[in-house]
Symmetry: C2
Subunit: 210 residues, 2 copies
C-alpha cells in the first residue's frame, strides 16, 4: 500500500507517518520509484504499536526507539531482558538518597539488580512523599509490597515459555503498557472503598443542609 493508505489504515496523518519514518520508529517502505514506496501489514502493525507506546504509556520518542529495538532483538527472555526494558524506559536519575529505597527492597526480600533505575525511581518517590510531609501508614506499605509481589508473580509466571518472540513482546509490552491500567484500576477501586466507608455525597445526590 502507499503511504496515504498506510496513514488511513492506521488512523494517523501522512505527516505523522513521515515523522515516524524520519525518527526511525517505522522501517522504510520498499522503494518502487525514486519518490514512491510501498508499505505492508508489518508497517500497520508497527504503527499501532508506536501509537500505543506514545499514548497512555507516555513514552518519549527516544524511549519508544529503545523499546522497539528490544522488541526487534532476537534474544531469550531472562532476568537480563527485564533490566534492559526497565533501563529503556527509566526516567532521568535522581539526586535522592538511595538508602531508604534499598532498605524497603531488603525488607521485601527481593533480589534485584543493584544498578536498577527503579531503585532511583523508588528513592525519588519516597523523597517526594517525605518532602510533602506524608508518612505512609505501615498497613498501606505492607499492602503495597504484598500486592507488588502478587502481580509480579502472576506476570512472570505467564510469560509464554514456548515462543521466544512472543515471550519478548509479552515482557516488553506487558511491563510498559500495563502501568496506566494499574493506576486507573487503583483509583477506581478507591472510589468503591470510599463509597463504602463514607457513603455518597456526590453531586448527583442531595447534600446535607448546611
Amino acid at each position: 500500500m502507499r503511504i496515504s493508505d498506510l496513514a488511513r489504515e492506521s488512523g494517523v496523518s501522512v505527516a505523522t507517518v513521515k515523522y515516524y519514518l524520519r525518527e526511525g520508529l517505522l522501517p522504510p517502505g520498499r522503494l518502487t520509484a525514486t519518490t514512491q514506496a510501498q508499505y505492508g501489514d508489518e508497517h500497520v502493525e508497527r504503527l499501532r504499536l508506536v501509537r500505543a507506546l506514545l499514548g497512555p504509556a507516555g513514552l518519549s520518542i527516544a524511549q519508544v526507539r529503545r523499546v522497539l529495538a528490544l522488541v526487534d532483538e532476537d534474544r531469550d527472555v531472562t532476568f537480563d531482558l527485564l533490566g534492559a526494558v526497565q533501563h529503556a524506559t527509566a526516567d532521568a536519575t535522581t539526586a535522592a538518597d538511595l538508602a531508604p529505597a534499598l532498605a524497603l527492597v531488603e525488607r521485601a526480600g527481593w533480589r534485584i539488580r543493584p544498578d536498577s533505575p527503579e531503585i532511583a525511581q523508588l528513592a525519588a518517590a519516597l523523597a517526594a512523599l517525605g518532602d510533602a510531609g506524608f508518612a505512609i501508614p505501615e498497613r498501606n506499605l505492607e499492602a503495597y509490597l504484598e500486592t507488588s509481589r502478587i502481580i509480579a508473580d502472576a506476570e512472570i509466571a505467564n510469560i509464554p515459555g514456548d515462543d521466544p518472540r512472543e515471550a519478548l513482546r509479552y515482557t516488553v509490552l506487558g511491563t510498559i503498557l500495563v502501568e496506566p491500567l494499574l493506576l486507573a484500576l487503583r483509583r477506581l477501586a478507591q472510589q468503591d472503598a470510599a463509597l463504602r466507608r463514607f457513603g455518597v455525597t456526590g453531586p448527583d445526590r442531595p447534600r446535607p443542609a448546611e
Copy 2:
C-alpha cells in the same frame, strides 16, 4: 526570611521561587517594603510540596495549582473529594471506546462515579494494549483487580478520622504521590520473580558460551 533565604532553605533557585509565585503555586510573602517581602515556615512547607508534586508525580503546573486548591479547601473527606482529586490530575480525555472499561469495572463489582476520568484512562490503556496486539492473560487480570481492591481498602481505611485537615492532605497527596512508588515496586518485584523463574544471566555473571 527573605526570598533568598527561602530559596536556600528549600534547595531551589530564587528564579524558581519567583516563577512559582507568579504561577500562584506559592502565596505572596508579607510586604515589608515596596520591593521586599518576608516569608515564613509555611512557605518552606508549601515549596516542598510543590516540588514533590512537580517531581516524581509528574504533574503539570496547572494540575499542581488544582491540587493545592483542594488541599487548601476546608472540606470533609468524602466520596466526592476523591472524585475532585481524580479530576484535578486527570489527563486529557480519550477517544477510546468506554465499553470495555465499564465492563471491567462491572466485573470487579465496584461502584464508581459514572463521570470518572479514570474510566477514560482505563479505556485508553485497554485500547493501547489492544493496538499493540497484547492480550492480558486472565490470571494477570484477576491479580490486577484483586490487588487494586486490597490497596484501595487499606488506603481508604487509613484515612485519619479525627482531623479533617490531615484527612484531606492524606487523601489528596496519598492518591497522587504513591503512584510512582507503586510503579517502581512492581518493576522491582518483577525482577525478583524473573530471577526465581529464569535465573541470572545478568552482566555481572558469566554468560553461557555461544
